[in-house]
């Protein structure tokens, strides 16, 4: 063979083997990507866990004996005249058969109007009050004790959570202390509110390793806990975190089918906020005009109609004396910004009859109740509210509404508990010392009774405060790689002391879920930088909400996010006047029916029934 031929052969050999090597690498990569090392999706996990006769939180409501040690007890505002009459303390059935959510103990009527307090271990409260939170409003962080001496050198915990500051900021601010103590690293992945659910579910549904620790809504328990995507909480972790210190409502949210899969990180309930310097201290300045227009005295609203009147009255006038016209109220109205929670607030107010906890569906048929007049009336009210809100309100989610209220542009606001700590955030708030707070408004005349298919009178009025979102839980996915480190971090983040500090952090988005936090209450918040009256009134309102026997808990069945998404989209259409409220609710009901069919009507019915057992 001559040289040329040899060169050709050498070149061919090179190309041939290079090609083969490339092919091998490609094939190996594809095989790996197609599931070589990844565990299969948790198909063996039961969609609906086995029946259990021992629901995790089936204990009788502890707050029935609401103690009077709470700092706010003596200063609680007079109970609203529309508040639901006291009812007998509720006990969840001891053996509520359930294939779904844990039975969540209902709030007790006893001691209604009093703050939620007196259940905590006094030593725990003492420990919390020893933590120096002075300067936390300006960014100075206290040193926190660790729960364990565990070391996880070189480990990385991937935390998936909400884009902050709310919910993720405690990991950013307090997480470094845990990192320093354990030697592990936290890798924080955050998603905007509108995408958290789908990103988490997509990450978990693939069955491959994506996260070591996730934070999720109590309402998504059906999908995450019921879907078999989360680890059961180990006994040693339960022992570490003072599980009995949780308020029963929130404690119940941690379980599904009698097994605990989550740790309560944040307790959520909607509240109503107003400027007390305007509506109480200077009420006389506006009362004449107000009474002439609406026929009653100006006061913090107790009903939706009063809320609407008050917002309308203050909208477009210079009520603050700042030389510019202010606005009536602001609440999230943007699609993807939490709108549906605020629609539900109103819908359940008009549709919740005492003793009938089935506000979302007919539990016998799983037919949505949304086309009933009560729900439609709720959405109609909200559509009217658009005109009493600042320009662009239809584009606001809660990240926008909070700064608007904090900067003094609106006289009222509806929000979760975030407002009562943000109010002393030095970077944000101009209304410290001017905050008033009440439970979510109710109705004063009639509610719609599904069993009678008619409006029924409620002579004394009624409130049905909605514990929107239910709160954020921490869970560890079954696919997590660093479970030990993740559980250690989870326990640290939810421990009574960290929880109290999180609540005191102005922008943490964490609200009290523990007796100890409530007991430390006003004193702790004042030390953190809060105004005494602001804090007192907010905790009073929270207490009244949590103890109202007519309170509505979060919908907690598989597909909850899908049901809510449909409500969110169609409500947004109604608010923008693209369709009527009636049409919107009809569309939502139709979509809810499709979701129920897709997920299995019988399974959904069973889960829904289980979710309302023990409620009234």
């Amino acid at each position: 063979m001559n040289d040329n031929l040899q060169r050709v052969i050498r070149r061919r050999d090179f190309l041939r083997w290079a090609g083969l090597a490339g092919l091998s690498v490609t094939a190996t990569s594809l095989l790996t990507a197609c599931g070589g090392g990844a565990p299969a999706a948790p198909t063996t996990a039961p969609a609906a866990p086995a029946p259990t006769s021992a629901p995790a939180a089936a204990a009788p409501t502890a707050a029935a004996a609401a103690a009077t040690r709470a700092p706010a007890a003596t200063t609680a505002p007079a109970a609203a005249p529309t508040t639901a009459p006291a009812a007998a303390a509720t006990k969840a059935p001891a053996a509520a058969a359930t294939t779904g959510p844990a039975v969540v103990t209902t709030p007790s009527a006893a001691g209604q109007g009093a703050p939620v307090a007196g259940k905590a271990d006094p030593k725990l409260v003492e420990q919390i009050l020893k933590i120096n939170v002075k300067g936390i409003d300006a960014g100075t962080l206290p040193k926190l004790p660790m729960l364990t001496n565990n070391k996880f050198e070189g480990k990385e915990v991937i935390v998936a959570t909400l884009a902050g500051p709310p919910i993720s900021s405690p990991f950013q601010k307090l997480g470094p202390q845990w990192e320093q103590a354990t030697g592990a690293k936290i890798n924080l992945i955050t998603f905007p509110f509108a995408q958290v659910f789908e990103k988490l579910r997509a990450g978990l549904a693939t069955g491959s390793y994506a996260f070591d620790l996730i934070t999720f809504s109590a309402g998504w328990a059906g999908d995450f806990m019921g879907g078999g995507f989360l680890e059961e909480v180990p006994a040693d972790i339960k022992a570490l975190i003072n599980n009995d210190d949780y308020y029963p409502i929130f404690k119940g949210y941690q379980s599904w089918g009698g097994k605990q899969y989550g740790l309560m990180y944040d307790g959520d309930a909607h509240q109503f906020y107003y400027r007390r310097d305007i509506m109480e201290d200077n009420a006389s300045k506006f009362n004449g005009d107000f009474k002439a227009k609406y026929g009653y005295d100006l006061k913090p609203p107790d009903t939706w109609q009063e809320y609407l009147d008050t917002a309308e009255f203050f909208n477009g006038i210079d009520w603050s004396g700042a030389g510019r016209n202010g606005y009536g109220t602001c609440e999230p109205m943007a699609r993807g910004g939490g709108l549906m929670y605020f629609v539900i607030d109103r819908g359940v107010s008009y549709s919740k009859v005492k003793g009938d906890p089935a506000v979302f569906f007919d539990p016998e048929t799983m037919k949505p109740r949304l086309t009933e007049p009560g729900w439609i009336k709720g959405l109609e009210d909200m559509v009217k509210q658009v005109d009493t809100s600042p320009p662009g309100a239809l584009g606001f989610g809660f990240p926008e509404t909070r700064p608007i209220f904090m900067s003094g542009q609106t006289v009222m606001n509806r929000d979760w508990g975030d407002t009562f700590t943000l109010v002393y955030d030095k970077k944000l708030s101009q209304i410290k010392g001017k905050l008033g707070s009440r439970p979510t408004p109710g109705v004063d005349k009639q509610v719609y009774d599904r069993t009678k298919q008619a409006w029924v009178d409620v002579p004394k009025g009624t409130r049905a405060p909605y514990l929107a979102f239910g709160g954020w839980l921490i869970g560890i996915p079954t696919t997590a790689k660093n479970k030990d480190a993740a559980w250690d971090l989870a326990a640290f983040m939810v421990s009574p002391i960290t929880h109290a500090v999180n609540v005191a952090l102005p922008d943490s988005g964490i609200q009290p879920a523990r007796y100890s936090t409530i007991d430390a209450g006003v004193q702790f918040l004042v030390q953190a930088g809060g105004d005494e009256q602001d804090s007192k009134r907010s905790l009073d309102a929270l207490g009244e909400t949590l103890q109202n026997p007519n309170a509505v808990l979060e919908l907690r069945i598989p597909g909850q996010a899908d049901y809510y998404n449909a409500l969110d989209v169609e409500s947004a259409r109604a608010l923008s006047k693209e369709i009527s409220p009636e049409e919107a609710m009809k569309n939502v009901a139709q979509q809810w029916e499709q979701i129920t069919e897709r997920l299995g009507r019988d399974k959904q019915k069973e889960a829904y029934k289980a979710s309302i057992v023990g409620l009234q």
């Binding site: 031929l5 190309l15 041939r16 090609g19 083969l20 490339g22 092919l23 490609t26 094939a27 594809l30 197609c34 999706a41 948790p42 198909t43 063996t44 996990a45 039961p46 969609a47 509108a194 659910f197 789908e198 579910r201 997509a202 549904a205 999908d223 879907g227 943007a334 699609r335 993807g336 910004g337 600042p390 320009p391 662009g392 309100a393 239809l394 584009g395 598989p558 597909g559 996010a561 899908d562 998404n565 989209v569 947004a572 259409r573 109604a574 608010l575 923008s576 693209e578 369709i579 569309n587 979701i595 897709r598 997920l599 299995g600």
Partner: protein, 322 residues
């Protein structure tokens, strides 16, 4: 052709020597016989796995009810149910029209501005090279960043500079993001800001490909510059125009990122697109069957739009040639 490569000895030589070709044929190894296939295999495999398989799999899924949350239950054959849902789904009808409107409004706007800019930058003007680079910058930016800064912040209704400017001019504020049709136009404007440079790039390349002599000759014959453009430049640019409009139309049909950031599909669903709806249905609601069906309608729509465009252009070219 069946063998790998030709023998070192020609077949004519073999006949001349009286030796049977098979006996003298160099024996090829398996690798030698298959090396072309092997070289092609990775690319074919990737296309099969990442394009062809999903294409057919999603078509199959459109006939199923498949719930990712209950994998153990497997999937259920539902026939044409998902396709039937398209007919009664008012939400789908609305976003279908929205998607078409994005193309009908956005693409011509981008084409006209792109063409004007291309004609200007084709002239011998000072700083031409600087402007050519400058005008391409928006295309290089992340759509999410563009959507947030230009869409959400600039057009913010209470704090954005646009309404602020209107206020100074004593013009009432405009609901750029929360009212239809202004929200729709805001998205079209932002999209045009980002993607007009793409039109500019292609059309400028087309202009530079037209021989200078042709233009010079046309200038001698024509009475006005408009006539030069109308009868010479524009027809010669048609192939580039087709490419630019076709590519942008297909891209525009898939618009989602800007919408998610600027309006999240709102107010209501007035700015939502088919892709966003398919994403919501499939990824959020995990209704994979219906999401696949929606995606397929998008594919059909894209093919239809491309075909119609090509037909129109072919007619225009024929007319020009005639």
């Amino acid at each position: 052709m069946t063998q790998g490569r030709p023998s070192a000895v020609g077949s004519a030589d073999l006949v001349a020597t009286g030796v049977r070709p098979a006996a003298q044929h160099v024996r090829l190894s398996w690798f030698e016989r298959n090396e072309r296939r092997l070289f092609l295999a990775p690319a074919v495999l990737i296309v099969l796995v990442l394009s062809i398989f999903p294409l057919f799999a999603s078509l199959a899924i459109s006939f199923l009810n498949w719930n990712f949350n209950d994998m153990a239950a497997g999937f259920k054959w539902v026939g044409l149910l998902n396709w039937g849902r398209l007919i009664s789904d008012e939400h789908f009808h609305k976003v279908f029209v929205n998607t078409l409107l994005y193309v009908v409004i956005g693409v011509p706007l981008q084409y006209v501005i792109g063409l004007v800019l291309a004609l200007v930058l084709h002239q011998e003007i000072r700083g031409r090279r600087f402007f050519r680079v400058l005008f391409l910058v928006p295309m290089m930016l992340s759509p999410v960043a563009v959507a947030y800064v230009l869409g959400r912040m600039t057009f913010n209704e209470s704090q954005g500079p646009v309404n602020d400017l209107l206020w100074y001019l004593h013009i009432p504020p405009v609901h750029w993001l929360t009212q239809f049709p202004t929200a729709f136009f805001t998205i079209a404007i932002v999209d045009s800001w980002q993607w007009t440079p793409f039109m500019l790039l292609l059309l400028l390349a087309g202009l530079q490909g037209i021989p200078a002599e042709v233009i010079e000759a046309a200038k001698l014959d024509a009475q006005t510059r408009w006539q030069v453009f109308r009868f010479i430049i524009f027809p010669l640019l048609l192939p580039w125009t087709v490419s630019a409009i076709l590519l942008r139309s297909v891209e525009m049909l898939k618009i989602m990122d800007l919408i998610v950031v600027i309006t999240a599909g709102g107010p209501g669903i007035t700015t939502e697109s088919l892709t966003f709806y398919a994403y919501q249905t499939g990824i959020r609601n995990l209704d994979l069957g219906y999401a696949s069906t929606i995606s397929y309608t998008l594919l059909i729509l894209a093919v239809a739009v491309a075909t119609i465009l090509l037909l129109l252009v072919r007619q225009a070219v024929n007319r020009a040639n005639a």
